[in-house]
């Protein structure tokens, strides 16, 4: 899977996780910190993590998810662990 393809899926997941119609996913960059700059509450964070697990067919453990900060970190991790 290409980085761009994963990025598009991540944008879609993040958009679904935010209860705000004015949110613009095009503002998400590779350097954005997922659980601070984009997703700001715990339930949305949980939603993002679980949706990534479902979409890419792997499971995060509690320690790993703490280490992943930026969108690029997520893309790298997904590329390494994705079942597809």
């Amino acid at each position: 899977m290409e980085d761009k393809e994963i990025m598009d899926i991540l944008k879609e997941i993040i958009k679904d996780s935010i209860d705000d119609d004015s949110f613009d996913p095009s503002k998400i960059t590779l350097d954005s910190i997922v659980f601070r700059d984009i997703v700001k509450n715990s339930i949305s964070s949980m939603y993002v993590a679980l949706a990534i697990e479902d979409r890419f067919g792997f499971e995060f453990d509690n320690e790993t998810i703490k280490e992943l900060k930026t969108v690029q970190d997520f893309i790298d991790y997904i590329k390494k662990n994705s079942a597809n």
């Binding site: 996780s17 935010i18 339930i43 949305s44 679980l50 697990e53 509690n62 998810i65």
Partner: protein, 425 residues
């Protein structure tokens, strides 16, 4: 052709006679064990026309379902290849009133006939997978049955069979509740309705599998089971909890997967609910503070884990806890949560957390709002009120989840008003 028509019209009395003579033999061979999604709503007897939809494992499915419902004649829809496989099978399928598909795929006379029968109040079973699936998962469902049910204006009843017919193991069958297609919007496509029916059959399959190993006691869950029974005998005498369902025709201790979302006014709340559900292995979502901070109480933590508690962190993103709860739900067991997230002793309800709705949405299971009212005096019974089940919306995004939480909150507030009125508060 005329010969075929004659064969297909076996007299109902003859079919009842076959049922009467064969029911005992089939019951002994298959030893069917039936799981009901909600026995109060749908048992083994059907009134009016109904389209039964099931997964397909073998030829024995026709026989098994024919004899499973003692008071109803169920006519199966059978593919052309199976119907003409051999003369003995054709003879038997004719006897039970099978509706064969045409040789030409463009021949829809079977559909017309099925709709006519359903409109007359008959029961027809259809296997939309169209061929036998030996694996433990469902294949693609052809959605033509949705068209049939819509045209005949009859409900769909999802069924599941595990296909154990020729072994010492018992045949496990799941019977779901009626799905009325007219309760859906007209613009819902056939595929959307089809996937809804599939999700119901999948849910049945999970519940049937979970029910498989369910015994009052098992060595694997020894402490858990011992705890359940001990709690029931001690607190059941002390508090005498009484379960009250506010919904008509609903059993408040139903089988299957659901999340119990209760108010939280005392530390005793989970024990009261355990008393009510003592026959079931209910997992309880417990905050990390209950376990003691920094693993300072290992014995307590061990006992809580053995007693069916799942620890969830309040501070960090605890994916493992959510994953554990979802696995438990998918195995077909209930889960108990206190969505306020803390004890509120004055009885007022705080805003609910979204976690329970998210798990319900992921596992496609309902939330049953429950409200616990303690007696004023020590000798008064504790009452547990159950409201209407809240099903997850089709919108699986955070908006849908928030909406579901809002619905649960409103239902809890409604139960609270009724409960307080009844108890003179």
């Amino acid at each position: 052709m005329a010969k075929k028509e004659k064969k297909q019209h076996t007299h109902p009395l003859l079919r009842y006679w076959i049922k009467l003579t064969g029911i005992l033999i089939v019951a002994l061979v298959n030893r069917p064990k039936v799981f009901f999604a909600n026995r109060g709503l749908q048992g083994k007897h059907f009134k009016g026309g109904a389209l039964l939809v099931s997964n397909h494992r073998s030829y024995w499915d026709y026989i098994s379902y024919f004899f499973l419902f003692p008071f109803n004649l169920i006519r199966p829809v059978v593919s052309y290849e199976i119907y003409h496989k051999n003369k003995v099978l054709t003879f038997f399928l004719d006897l039970i009133g099978a509706i064969p598909l045409g040789e030409n795929p463009a021949d829809f006379s079977w559909m017309k006939k099925t709709i006519e029968l359903l409109k007359k109040g008959k029961k027809v079973i259809i296997f939309p997978e169209a061929h036998f699936i030996q694996e433990d998962k469902l294949a693609t469902f052809h959605s033509s049955y949705i068209l049939i049910a819509r045209s005949a204006n009859v409900p769909i009843i999802p069924l599941y069979t595990d296909g154990n017919y020729h072994s010492w193991k018992r045949n496990r069958v799941g019977i779901g509740t009626k799905i009325y297609l007219n309760s859906f919007k007209e613009n819902n496509s056939r595929e959307e309705l089809n996937s809804y029916v599939i999700s119901k059959i999948e849910e049945l399959s999970r519940n049937v599998k979970a029910n498989k190993g369910h015994h009052l006691f098992s060595f694997k869950n020894f402490l858990w089971d011992l705890g359940r029974v001990t709690v029931y005998f001690h607190l059941g005498i002390a508090f005498r909890p009484k379960a009250i369902s506010l919904e008509k025709n609903k059993t408040n201790r139903k089988n299957g997967t659901y999340i119990l979302a209760a108010n939280h006014t005392r530390f005793m709340d989970p024990f009261i609910l355990l008393c009510v559900f003592w026959r079931k292995r209910v997992k309880i979502l417990a905050a990390d503070v209950v376990y003691g901070l920094n693993n300072s109480h290992p014995v307590r933590a061990f006992l809580l884990n053995q007693g069916g508690c799942v620890k969830i962190s309040r501070e960090s993103l605890d994916l493992e806890a959510v994953s554990n709860c979802c696995k438990h739900l998918k195995r077909g067991y209930p889960l108990m949560v206190f969505p306020e997230g803390h004890i509120k002793r004055n009885g007022e309800m705080d805003a609910l957390k979204n976690g329970s709705s998210m798990m319900a949405s992921r596992c496609s299971c309902p939330i049953i709002p429950s409200y616990i009212v303690y007696g004023k005096k020590w000798y008064n019974r504790t009452k547990v009120y159950f409201g209407k089940e809240i099903y997850p919306p089709k919108d699986k995004t955070i908006k849908g989840i928030s909406q579901m939480t809002q619905e649960v909150h409103e239902e809890l507030e409604r139960i609270k008003i009724i409960a307080e009125k009844e108890n003179g508060r």
